[in-house]
């Protein structure tokens, strides 16, 4: 049994300690908002927050997250009210297929916490998620919109 702190709740999961957090979230806890894209931390679809930092959950083991606070998309807006990132995403009509967007928004939320007014260069350096539909132009606009909200 491993103890996880996910979205403000402590749960016990019966998985091997080396299980990637991604699969514990998806298959054991049913939190399927976090997506599998590559399994090797290259695409960012599985991005969650670990103690507030954007982290790719497909290569992070469950044992490495013990005692740390994990936030997934399901916990991003805990009171049901959209965050300013989510609102900007709607205003700019960012998502297409949407599959990568959860990871994208998790990465952006962490960036804005660190740098509330990011420059384009900050965005280029921090947002390395892959979007195959090609929403990047709108992602950039939405980040600036959220920063000004």
């Amino acid at each position: 049994m491993t103890r996880l702190n996910v979205n403000g709740r402590v749960v016990e999961v019966d998985v091997e300690p080396e299980t990637p957090l991604l699969w514990a979230l998806r298959d054991t806890l049913g939190l399927t908002g976090t997506k599998y894209g590559c399994g090797v931390a290259l695409c960012g679809a599985c991005t969650v927050h670990v103690d507030g930092a954007a982290t790719r959950s497909c290569t992070l083991t469950v044992q490495d997250t013990e005692g740390k606070k994990i936030t997934t998309i399901e916990g991003l807006a805990p009171d049901g009210k959209l965050t300013k990132v989510q609102e900007a995403w709607i205003a700019e009509q960012v998502p297409q297929c949407g599959y990568c967007q959860v990871g994208m928004m998790m990465a952006v939320s962490a960036l804005l916490r660190e740098k509330p007014r990011p420059t384009d260069a900050d965005i280029d350096a921090a947002i390395t998620n892959i979007c195959r539909c090609g929403t990047y132009a709108r992602v950039r606009k939405a980040i600036h919109r959220a920063a000004q909200a």
Partner: protein, 723 residues
């Protein structure tokens, strides 16, 4: 912990009597109730439209939604003719099973070829108009007044003389009993009130909260997971595998092989996907893969090259006498071009989930063609189509990968049948990279002779390579010519007196398939790079040179989009220091498209600064979605042009994940300016046209910057960008 709870019970399998079917009472182990089709409360006025007493209008959409906005766009077109209140419209996917039972009542369920709107606009608008007429007739009958004396505003019917009013929700049940009108008049696009305006997509609010249940997110009671490994060499079979070696692995349930005509695969089933994947990695497998083991990029290139040299190959177009004209000599140009295989790499890896019982199959899958999915499930199981439901989920990317071939559905049905439990089968990203249905590999040899005015008097295009139709629909190949493969070449808009376009079909063991912008992408690169070469050979400006070739009556729309991008990009005016641009025009998917790409060279690397794009798609239903599709198409094309390449060695794909099949990311994004210029009178596609002119416009800009002509892709292998 709040598990995502897919709304599985919404799609129970019982077709209500009102829908013209039988209550079959299938038992589903989904924890769901047996209920009449409860998805849309209200009355079905016709197959497309269900209206509830509270005026909620549910519009059934037959095409798939992968973020391209077809679901919202088709609802807009129905609502436009229905004259309902847009704020009360809810979309719903039409049931594939019901579609089959009701004799394909929703038209095409296939979503590809940029057909979503243009291929269904006529019949969905008619459905909206017919329902409106029936609703008005029902109100008129209740009031005992002529229908012609009634008006409709946002779903409220009013009688002009008396001022009486009825809401759609109040008359839907009566309307549904009326005979549908035989003929309806559709609204002129200039009079549209809902369509034609930028409209927020239905699917976006859920997507920003991580709420949509993609196929990979389906969770069923008792469900287990399957990981798959297909023979790395295409077409190879399973010789043997050693299940005993992994039976002690945690969570292990079963290992099985899935050999069929297309090739062999082994599957491991376990209690979680992670366990299944790990056990599969440890499973000893011996493959029978000798047949194609010696195929490589080099052997494929030699095979295609021979096609370029072949003496007699069938022609798709032959005007005048190209060979005689070329033999005269004078100022000639000749160049060979080539493009590599490309993978789709949808962000949601291939997957499907199935429940197979004695008399029924349910499959949850990301599909661009749910009828094809049903057919694949039927073939894999022997179950009649009528007993199969395909639960159409939001797609995590499609791009052509999820239409024609339906391997995950066929595979998961066989696994679920074999083990007798609900199963979710997931391809790893590595499987996705190595078992795609790749953009075909082709080469082109271009030859032309220029007249005294510098314009071509003869132009010969020879294409050698794969035909998608060979794999998917061989009946489309006529006398050895696949016109699909030659799109934009045999029907080019340029006026040239002698034209020859011929095709040396050279199919490989590497399976090819439809791919976003397929053919317009490769052929755009060939044609629009070569016309640039001709312009330079003639000492002419590439934009003005194209203008001269686009003076024919059928070229007027090509000319119009070309002029617009040249003007918006400031063609002919000085660029900022260190910047260069290239131009291209290429009609595709019944839309007319042109682009100017601006670049700078930074330390020998190409940086794309700006793309100006114009499209004439005839009509525009949701302008914001069209712009989004053009933006997406441009990114798709830039990725392929700059870095995309699948290579073959020892009969198999060398790439395995995003480290060796890299993608364009936000740091390489240019500024994009899109001009929509619908000229009316026709319906063009928008999902793929954004791809068409990008590769040549970019490579033409590189020529302007460096004097180096790029004749093969991607730029990565020319050292013009770094991975």
């Amino acid at each position: 912990m709040n598990a995502v709870n897919p709304k599985l019970s919404r799609r129970t399998f019982v077709v209500s009597a009102a829908a013209g079917g039988l209550a079959l009472g299938f038992h589903l182990p989904l924890g769901g109730k047996r209920a009449a089709r409860a998805a849309a409360p209200g009355t079905e006025v016709n197959a497309w439209i269900v209206i509830a007493p509270d005026d909620t209008v549910t519009i059934r959409v037959a095409r798939s939604e992968m973020g391209q906005g077809t679901q919202t766009g088709l609802c807009m077109l129905v609502a436009e003719e229905l004259d309902c209140d847009w704020s009360k419209v809810r979309p719903e996917f039409a049931s594939t099973n019901e579609h089959i039972r009701r004799k394909r009542i929703w038209g095409s369920m296939s979503t590809g070829g940029s057909q979503g709107i243009r291929g269904s606009q006529d019949y969905v608008r008619k459905a909206g108009a017919a329902a409106r007429e029936m609703l008005v007739a029902a109100a008129a009958a209740r009031w005992k007044v002529p229908a012609a004396d009634c008006t409709v505003e946002k779903g409220v019917i009013a009688h002009k003389g008396s001022g009486r009013m009825l809401r759609y929700g109040e008359v839907a049940a009566e309307a549904a009993k009326l005979d549908p009108p035989k003929d309806v008049k559709l609204r002129e696009p200039k009079d549209w009130k809902i369509a034609g305006k930028p409209t927020a997509r239905f699917d976006i609010p859920d997507k920003v909260m991580g709420k949509p249940v993609y196929a990979i997110d389906v969770r069923l009671p008792g469900m287990v997971y399957a990981a798959i490994k297909q023979c790395p060499v295409f077409g190879g079979k399973v010789k043997s595998f050693d299940e005993a070696a992994i039976k002690d692995k945690k969570g292990f349930i079963k290992a099985l092989s899935l050999d069929d005509a297309a090739g062999g695969a082994v599957v491991v089933v376990a209690d979680t996907y992670w366990h299944a994947k790990r056990a599969l990695e440890a499973l000893p497998v011996v493959w029978d893969d000798e047949a194609n083991k010696k195929v490589s990029d080099e052997t494929i290139a030699a095979f295609l090259k021979a096609g370029l040299e072949a003496a007699d190959v069938p022609a798709a177009r032959s005007d005048g006498d190209v060979k005689a004209e070329l033999a005269k000599g004078g100022k000639t140009a000749s160049a060979d071009y080539a493009v590599p295989f490309q993978n789709h790499a949808t962000m949601e890896p291939m997957n499907a989930t199935a429940v197979v019982t004695a008399d029924r199959i349910d499959v949850w899958v990301a599909t661009q063609n749910s009828e094809a999915s049903a057919a694949a499930a039927a073939r894999a199981s022997g179950m009649p189509l009528e007993n199969i439901e395909i639960h159409k989920m939001m797609l995590g990317g499609g791009f052509g990968r999820r239409g024609g071939s339906q391997e995950p559905t066929a595979q998961v049905v066989r696994v679920a049948k074999a083990i007798g439990r609900p199963v979710q089968l997931i391809w790893s990203r590595e499987e996705d990279m190595q078992h795609g249905r790749y953009r075909p590999v082709t080469m082109a040899r271009m030859r032309a002779t220029l007249g005294a005015d510098g314009l071509p008097t003869a132009w010969w295009t020879r294409v050698s390579g794969q035909s998608i139709m060979y794999y998917f629909n061989p009946s489309m190949i006529r006398n050895g010519v696949d016109f699909h493969t030659l799109g934009g070449l045999h029907d080019m808009p340029y006026t040239v007196p002698n034209v020859l376009v011929d095709f040396a079909m050279r199919n490989t063991h590497v399976p090819s398939g439809f791919w976003r912008g397929v053919k317009s992408n490769e052929n755009g690169f060939y044609r629009e790079s070569f016309v640039d070469e001709l312009a330079h050979a003639a000492g002419a400006d590439p934009y003005q040179y194209r203008r001269k070739l686009l003076q024919g009556a059928r070229a007027k729309r090509d000319l119009a989009v070309l002029d617009v991008v040249a003007e918006k990009a400031g063609w002919g005016k000085p660029l900022p220091p260190g910047q260069f641009h290239g131009i291209a025009v290429f009609a595709a998917y019944a839309s007319y498209n042109a682009a100017v790409v601006e670049i700078s060279m930074q330390g020998g690397e190409v940086k794309v600064e700006r793309v100006v794009f114009a499209i004439d798609s005839g009509h525009v239903v949701n302008p914001d979605s069209v712009v989004a599709q053009i933006e997406g198409g441009i990114v798709w094309a830039l990725t392929a042009t700059m870095m995309g390449e699948i290579t073959i060695k020892d009969g198999r794909v060398e790439q395995s994940n995003f480290h060796d099949y890299p993608m364009l990311k936000i740091d390489r994004m240019p500024k994009i300016e899109t001009v929509l210029m619908p000229s009316g009178g026709f319906w063009g596609g928008v999902g793929e046209p954004g791809v068409s002119p990008i590769a040549p416009a970019l490579c033409n800009a590189i020529f302007a910057a460096t004097g180096k002509r790029i004749r093969s892709l991607p730029l990565l292998k020319h050292g013009l960008i770094k991975a």
